[in-house]
């Protein structure tokens, strides 16, 4: 067993940075102002956005506890793709562009750093045993969407992994569910692109120990999305990626969305 987990009363957590260094800075600053004792990033640092090397120093300088997502794993190991498992030809086309750009523009130093990130972290929120992971406790690339994740499935995950609170990301959409005995599941969402809701804000998650349970709060963040979009244009990234940043609607890689999440979006 590793050392006794660190105990906190108030933390911030997010995933899916997707090279969005503007949003990353804005989220960290906001989280500190809201009294976060620690900030955690649940992985997928690259993809989609420009200049992937710009997010890593921000994470290090701000002591953000970071775990390795499937994208980070692919980049670190030099795999052929992002391990998202797309089969739709259009999604594959854009996923390939995104992955090649990110891989080619991530320096070896930071690829090595990605490879050394832990797959999971264990902390305590108050007295609640909290497990931080990327996709799910059992798989780095498992999608846990709100409309396809039964409560009894989440209860079993908590039982199987000895956790009172499970935090994940990977889907890019934030949601949470209260479980039995004051337990909690939360998908902390992504800060690299909006939540497919027609708004340019991105979302992160504040979690606070409250009595015997944990309170979850999703926080929208306005940031300089115009400057970010301009960098994407300057780097020659696809118009479709830029469109997502400036409109708030996901334009690519929608194939993996279940019906209810897909219907809420525009494409």
């Amino acid at each position: 067993m590793s050392a006794e987990p660190e105990t906190y009363t108030r933390i911030a957590a997010f995933g899916g940075v997707y090279s969005n260094h503007y949003a990353l800075r804005a989220v960290i600053e906001d989280a500190r102002q809201r009294g976060a004792e620690a900030v955690f990033c649940l992985g997928d640092l690259g993809a989609f956005g420009p200049h992937p090397d710009r997010v890593f120093p921000i994470l290090v300088e701000n002591d953000v506890g970071t775990i390795r997502g499937n994208y980070d794993d692919s980049i670190a190991r030099g795999l052929d793709d992002c391990q998202c498992g797309y089969t739709d030809p259009r999604d594959n086309h854009f996923a390939h562009i995104s992955y090649r750009y990110t891989f080619d523009n991530t320096s070896q130093t930071w690829r090595d750093w990605l490879g050394e990130l832990p797959e999971q972290l264990h902390i305590r929120l108050g007295d609640r045993r909290t497990l931080l992971c990327h996709g799910s406790p059992r798989s780095v690339n498992e999608f846990l969407w709100e409309s396809t994740t039964p409560t009894h499935f989440l209860e079993k995950l908590c039982d199987d992994y000895d956790a009172d609170v499970v935090l994940c990301t990977h889907t890019g959409l934030h949601w949470s569910r209260k479980l039995s005995g004051g337990r909690l599941f939360a998908n902390v969402g992504a800060i690299g692109r909006p939540a497919n809701d027609g708004c340019t804000d991105v979302w992160y998650t504040m979690l606070s120990a409250a009595g015997g349970s944990v309170r979850v709060e999703f926080v929208p963040i306005a940031y300089n999305f115009e400057a970010f979009a301009q960098e994407m244009v300057d780097e020659g990234l696809p118009d479709q990626f830029v469109e997502t940043i400036v409109t708030g609607w996901w334009t690519t890689c929608n194939e993996v969305l279940p019906f209810k999440e897909r219907r809420r979006g525009k494409f």
Partner: protein
Amino acid sequence: MMAADNLRPAPAGATPKAGSAGEATPRVPLLALDYLWFQVAGTVCNLRCTHCFISCAPDNHSFWFLDLDTVGAYLDESKSWGVKEYYFTGGEPFMNKDLPTMLERTLAIGPASVLTNATLLPEKTVRRLAEIDAGSPFSLELRVSLDGPSADTNDPIRGTGTFERTLQGVQRLVEYGFLPIITAAQVWCPQEDGKVYQQFVDALHRVGYGRPRIKILPSLHIGREADRSRSYSDEERVTSAMMEDFDASQLLCSSARIVTDRGVYVCPILIDHADARLGADLEEAARPYALGHHACYTCWMNGAICTNFSGIGLER
């Protein structure tokens, strides 16, 4: 960790032998029961498709309908297994008049997917489905089979007039807010993938489906499809060597079982095979399965093809 169990030799005499060398057939353990399937209409279908891997037809009564109480009991039991998604197939699931009620009960606890030909969807039924969907936080997926982007390509396989009738069903589902997953078996030349895919998109646009979801499946050379195209060759089998460094969680048999009126089987593809019946209930059927059938080779090549979000990756 559990994947190591794949390579454990099967008990002598328990499974068919693979290959000329007679080596042990690799076995796949049930890692987790994520997907619970219901053969809800048995092998009874209003169509008689020439590529059906379990030869469903109006007069194929090999498997019969599941009743509401049976499905309800399995739904209750499924919670302790941590089942993640529920799938309803046949035959044609909508031939079972209790299907909407079964879906309503399912969607009270988790997401449901129905594999349908969409030819038995009068407005009354679609309206009911929309009401059920509106009452649940979980997704109700309608997976609609269509095997060509035109009557000329689809109807020789699925039957005269089916292209038109299926598109009418799709149109009705779309009008009621659904985004059906159009599921096509790859019955054309792989070189034509890009062209055929675009033709599907165009055909669906024409009935008002503006952002179609399309899933392409490999054909399975068993049942009627063995006569229509070809049967498997002797070499198309999964060997122990092929399971080395292979992620067994890619296979449906590592994460699913299917309930039929004759017991619990390993997967929806193999219900015509006696060795695929793993037990009378989930507990019995949780044992490992030996990949002794040629069709297992198709899943080894393509992954869990029966789930909603996997299929053949098409080249552009």
